[in-house]
Symmetry: C2
DNA sequence: TTACGTGCAAATAATTTGCAGTCCC
DNA sequence: GGGACTGCAAATTATTTGCACGTAA
């Protein structure tokens, strides 16, 4: 287990691997965006937010490519679409099993660690359907607000 | 219980009352739309869906008014906005405490009777915030689909 | 009467798409 | 080299808004 030659620590390398594994060609833009999204733990981003972050990081990428990339990553299972409020789409780095606080009016999303919420019983799906995923959104408001 | 003089049964009358109670003038359009929305049990509609239904029912109303009315009803607490998929807004007749099945790809929403799902523990909100509402979305996919 | 509502069309916002040029394998 | 990818701008889709006219209190 020790001294193995794998270089897990290199985020760029990891991202390339990850992209290849899901069948996406690791291009400059995808690798850079993947690095922004995956190298810093869980993220919740909208296209606009990711675009601004990319600008700040001097990553040369167009807004259209941001949209396309977010969709491709989502289709590939690297991201999950978060339905927070209609009108704007958010994406969540797709770790298994956690839910979200959403702050009303502000557009902030905060992870709820998986264990802090628990469903006792899952409902029976209608005939011919199976459960793909369960989303729990806990909407918050400012006290006194 | 029997032969009481209240006329609970008259949907139009009920809707007028209801609108007045939340401070909305019971105009022709609002009463008609309220009737469509509230007289038939729980509903999940998008603006487009409500508009088409109104057309079928020969209710003279413009799409802009549908949007305005849905927003006004929501602000007044008669409806609740449902975050299903970004891109399109759905509204839910705001009964207390139930959750939703959402069928992937199709845009269908089905109520989960309140009792069929149960949260054991609610997570602790961050300092200064309180829980306004909990939404549970159970996403379904066709078996074998 | 008079402020509030409604309809229409134009405006805005978010996202997608077509196509010419660029880059990875 | 050749097909996959990107950027730009134009197109599409969902929703909101401004303003003249209609209508409930």
């Amino acid at each position: 287990m020790e001294g193995a030659p794998t270089r897990q620590g290199c985020p760029f390398h990891d991202v390339r691997q990850r992209l290849r594994r899901v069948g996406l060609r690791p291009t400059r833009q995808r690798v850079s965006l993947g690095w922004v999204l995956f190298a810093k733990g869980d993220r919740h981003v909208s296209a606009e937010m990711l675009f601004e972050e990319a600008m700040r990081e001097r990553i040369p990428v167009s807004l259209a490519t941001i949209y396309n990339t977010l969709r491709q990553f989502t289709d590939a299972g690297l991201l999950r679409e978060l339905a927070i409020d209609a009108g704007k789409t958010y994406f969540d780095t797709a770790s298994d099993d956690h839910h979200h606080f959403v702050i009303e009016d502000e557009n902030r999303v905060i992870d709820i660690p998986g264990r802090e919420i628990e469903l006792t019983t899952l409902p029976t799906p209608p005939e011919g359907y199976e459960i793909a995923h369960v989303d729990v959104l806990v909407r918050l408001r400012k006290i006194g607000g």
